[in-house]
Amino acid sequence: MSDINLDETLRALRESAATETPSASLESELLGEFRRHHRQKGRRRVWIGIGIGVAASLLIAIALQPERPPVAIKTPPPVPVITAPPPLPPAVAAATTPAPRRRVMRKPQVRPQPAQQARREVGTDFIPIPYAPDFRAEDSAAIVRVKLPRYSLQTVGLPFNPERANERIDADVLMGQDGIARAIRFVH
């Protein structure tokens, strides 16, 4: 083989390998992975659909709510303005400067634990959403915590401060089995 015919030897190698394939089990493994992947994708789609449904039904409920006159919020009386006294001459200022105070050790502040925070949460009762289907006691339901702009308080007849209309407020939405919102309560 001192005179090498490279094309011939490469062709021989190519032909010898032409029937080489991975094991048959690889196809079924990949098919299993394909099915798993698409099942998970399907579940993700269902949850996204539910989320969109919840949001849409809430928006529809809010949009269909008849307008009510905004509730006037009592604002506190204006605080009298106190003008600052004229600056004292330097000598007087030095004399009236209080002596340096002794440092006082503060008690370390204890942050409230999540459980304590939860206990301090206050909320309204559940308010039925107008035009939503009837909710029967035997129906199963889920409560979903959402954040809504404060102006949505007025849609269920609750007072709100127009100056904070766009701030967010927590709300629990009672969802029926069909994904339609039945009632809402606001929590703080």
Binding site: L6, A12, L13, R14, P22, S23, E27, L30, F34, G42
Partner: protein, 187 residues
């Protein structure tokens, strides 16, 4: 011939689109069409059936999990799959250091003056495996997988001229290795 034709290109893309939408039959068809060439590419590159199988699996896993990584504007699907396979092969070779040169494998030497067909195949396989990776991949893609230069260039991400020069150099190295082996056998 494992070259990528325009018809394959269109059909591959259609199959992939259907598979991404969850069509199992389309995925199976795509797998059956492309797994052989990819497996053989990985086999010639690594010399290991286990690595070739692992690479084939990884390529199709990537296609299932991240089909968006393939951009039809940048070339045919088969080229993309070869590119993914190549990356996995190089990673496996780095990990396992399975390079086996002719000189490192004296058991392959034969006492016969000429090589029989199976010995020739074994010898050329070992010679291909002993080439540096840059030359080996062009020899495998162009000579063993019979990809056109332009497609091999697309897979490797280099100009066609580079493919030509690497192929020429790779083939010269192969000839040298086979001649040296043949002379060793004769003496």
């Amino acid at each position: 011939m494992d070259a990528i034709t325009a018809d394959d290109h269109r059909t591959d893309n259609t199959l992939l689109r259907l598979a991404v939408a969850g069509d199992e039959a389309a995925f199976v068809e795509l797998y059956r069409r492309r797994h052989g060439p990819l497996y053989r590419f990985a086999l010639h590159m690594s010399g290991s059936a286990a690595v070739a199988e692992e690479v084939t699996q990884e390529v199709f896993m990537a296609l299932i999990r991240k089909p968006g990584a393939f951009d039809p504007q940048r070339g045919p699907l088969a080229g993309f799959l070869y590119g993914v396979a190549r990356n996995h092969v190089l990673r496996c070779l780095e990990r396992e250091r399975r390079f086996v040169g002719l000189e490192d494998n004296p058991a392959e030497a034969t006492v016969m003056g000429d090589l029989t067909r199976s010995e020739t195949i074994g010898a050329v396989r070992q010679a291909v495996l002993s080439l540096p990776a840059d030359y080996r991949e062009v020899v495998v893609l162009c000579d063993l997988q019979e990809l056109p230069y332009a497609e091999a260039a697309g897979v490797l991400g280099v100009p066609v001229g580079t493919v030509r020069s690497r192929l020429s150099r790779g083939r010269a190295l192969l000839e040298d290795k086979l001649r040296a082996r043949s002379e060793r056998c004769l003496t």
